[in-house]
């Protein structure tokens, strides 16, 4: 079991309200990602769930029990920290066994569980090393190992991959997803990286300034962003947001079109523009095109073979069925 429910939870530091009252339900076994720009309160929200911060008002329910005043150790949750927070003077074995030793389990049982966790995480050869002798990815796995031996109701991850290099990050992303599929335990994962959110989540919670902007599956968020913030935040490269006269033609304050939903050619089209920088990724090419319709250059995604000279004149045609319309408040017009 591992259902977590937030009822009107809010958090203030002094007079600054970082999280206005919010409601959120995380179902048992779900992989939920909190995503948002830095300083949006996503880590604070995680720490409220963990119990490392006290809520200012509202209730945190875990499996239907009010856990608001239960200390972190007794909530049955395990957390993986951004800095891994391994104990530097203990071997990997002792690090992983630490929560078990604190729980007063006997030696044999500790050993059994540590060995099991080490096997799952490919750490068997490193059990007698100190954290200082491990690479970033291995340390990350030890931190996860320390979390899984407790067999918690839910895992909390606080930006666990942000200290790893790009290649390792992709690998660890897969490993964590794999782990979730195998353990089927609730996981809450905080990140500022929308790629991590899109690739791993069952459910994404987009936060801005402590307010939940939208909750939904990755594709829901991608296809039907509720407002301009989510539209701009989810997806890479970003959605093109165009205001002014062009938007008014569609009866909206802002229109949005994703880079892959714009056709580009030299002969004719709806909008005319000049090619700026082109980014060739091999599989795709991104063109940044200066266009009359918006002051910002418009990003267009084309196949890898497409190429235009810098300064070439091109025509763009957005596909009308993929056009997103937003009103003056930035909310989606259905």
């Amino acid at each position: 079991m591992g259902q977590i429910k937030l009822n009107q939870v809010s958090k203030s530091f002094g007079t600054v309200e970082v999280i206005p009252p919010l409601d959120l339900t995380i179902e048992n076994g779900e992989f939920v990602v909190f995503v948002g720009p830095s300083g949006c309160g996503k880590s604070t929200l995680l720490r409220l769930i963990a119990g490392l911060e006290d809520v200012t008002s509202g209730h945190v329910m875990i499996d239907g029990v009010d856990a608001t005043s239960i200390p972190p150790a007794k909530r049955g949750l395990a957390m993986v920290f951004q800095s891994y927070a391994l104990y530097p003077h203990m071997s990997v074995r002792k690090n992983i066994a630490f929560p078990l030793r604190m729980a007063g389990l006997d030696k044999a049982e500790q050993d059994r569980r540590v060995r099991q966790a080490a096997e799952v995480l490919n750490l068997t050869d490193y059990l007698d090393r100190r954290p200082g002798q491990l690479s970033g990815g291995q340390r990350q796995r030890v931190a996860i190992g320390r979390a899984i031996v407790r067999e918690p109701k839910a895992f909390l991850f606080d930006e666990p991959l942000s200290n790893l290099d790009a290649a390792l990050r992709v690998g660890m992303r897969l490993e964590i997803s794999e782990l979730h599929k195998r353990l089927k335990t609730t996981m809450i994962y905080v990140t500022h990286d929308q790629v991590e959110a899109m690739t791993m989540a069952d459910k994404i919670v987009v936060l801005q300034a402590g307010v939940i902007e939208q909750v939904g599956s990755p594709l829901e968020l991608y296809q039907r962003p509720r407002n301009t913030f989510v539209a701009g935040f989810i997806g890479s490269p970003k959605m093109n947001l165009i205001g002014g006269a062009e938007a008014e033609k569609h009866g909206a304050a802002t229109i949005g079109i994703r880079p892959e939903h714009i056709d580009i050619n030299e002969k004719d089209g709806l909008w005319q523009g000049t090619v700026g920088v082109s980014e060739h990724l091999g599989s795709d090419t991104f063109f940044h095109i200066q266009c009359g319709v918006s002051p910002e250059p418009i990003t267009v995604r084309a196949t890898g073979e497409k190429a235009f000279e810098y300064g070439a004149k091109v025509h763009l045609t957005p596909r009308p069925e993929h056009l997103h319309r937003f009103d003056a408040k930035g909310l989606r017009i259905a």
Partner: protein, 289 residues
């Protein structure tokens, strides 16, 4: 600074400082060694200066005050170390907490370190421990008890308290900086792992502080082996408070036996070096990890 030219220039410029330091150390050392092998009593012109071999060394060790002085030295050093390390850790943990007026409290805690040893000893002797006018005497009298003559009845304990008061700020300061370098996430992780405060202290904080504690012990031992002013001002070596340093002082300046005192000085050098090597090894081991 890699060229031949710049390297020799650097050597040339460092030479005066190195020469001065070497001279500063070597001249007194060789003079001490020289006198330790000679019979030399400057106030007794009737006794001739002459070479006596290891006579002074044998006489220093076989004197009835030698072992008691070693014992007193070890008790004082050990006692002060115990008090400063334990209270230093406690104070460091307290002072690293967020609280109102923390800046002022920190300055107050560090203040005793800036008081000169002679003044410290006088303060304690006259203000606190004096059996007639001292603060403690007044308190005891107020509750109807007989004042304690601290410096004559509990001599070593009193000296330990005085010296510990003086060195506590140093220990606190070093341990405080070490406490602050502890990653807060480690403590939070331990808290999530179900470790109550005592376990977090034992398993996370104390190992983290181990290196700082060794540094405190090392530096303090080297200085504490040589405490002198506190004894001269309070008891002048009476009531079993004669440490090795004080014994050497008495041999040289009270008995005017320079040769015997120098031999004692050489013993002190050897003792200090043994302690230093021993402690350096511990620190070296701790610094490896």
């Amino acid at each position: 600074m890699a060229t031949q030219h710049s390297r020799s220039a650097a050597r040339l410029m460092m030479a005066p400082a190195v020469t001065l330091l070497l001279g500063w150390m070597l001249i007194p050392l060789s003079m001490t060694l020289f006198f330790s092998f000679r019979k030399y009593l400057p106030m007794r012109p009737d006794i001739a200066q002459e070479w006596v071999g290891f006579d002074n060394y044998v006489r220093f060790v076989t004197s009835s005050s030698f072992w008691p002085s070693i014992q007193a030295t070890l008790i004082i050093v050990g006692g002060v170390l115990a008090i400063t390390v334990v209270l230093g850790i406690a104070l460091a943990l307290l002072l690293s907490q967020e609280m109102w007026g923390r800046g002022i409290v920190r300055v107050l805690v560090i203040a005793p370190f800036f008081v000169m040893p002679t003044v410290t000893a006088l303060l304690w002797k006259n203000m606190f421990m004096d059996p007639v006018n001292g603060f403690f005497a007044h308190i005891l009298k107020a509750v109807g008890l007989t004042p304690i003559e601290f410096l004559s009845q509990h001599t070593l304990l009193s000296l330990i308290v005085i010296v510990a008061w003086q060195w506590l700020p140093f220990a606190t300061l070093i341990l405080l900086t070490a406490t602050q370098s502890l990653d807060a996430e480690q403590l939070e992780a331990a808290e999530m792992d179900g470790a109550p405060w005592v376990s977090r202290f034992l398993w996370i904080m104390l190992p983290h502080l181990a290196r700082a504690i060794t540094v405190v012990i090392l530096i303090q031992t080297i200085f504490l082996l040589g405490i002198f002013a506190e004894i001269l001002v309070t008891t002048q070596g009476a009531f079993g408070s004669r440490t090795l340093t004080y014994l050497i002082y008495q041999r040289v300046l009270e008995s005017q036996n320079v040769g015997l005192g120098s031999a004692g000085g050489v013993y002190a050098i050897i003792l200090a070096n043994i302690v230093a090597i021993f402690l350096m090894r511990i620190v070296g081991k701790n610094l490896d990890t």
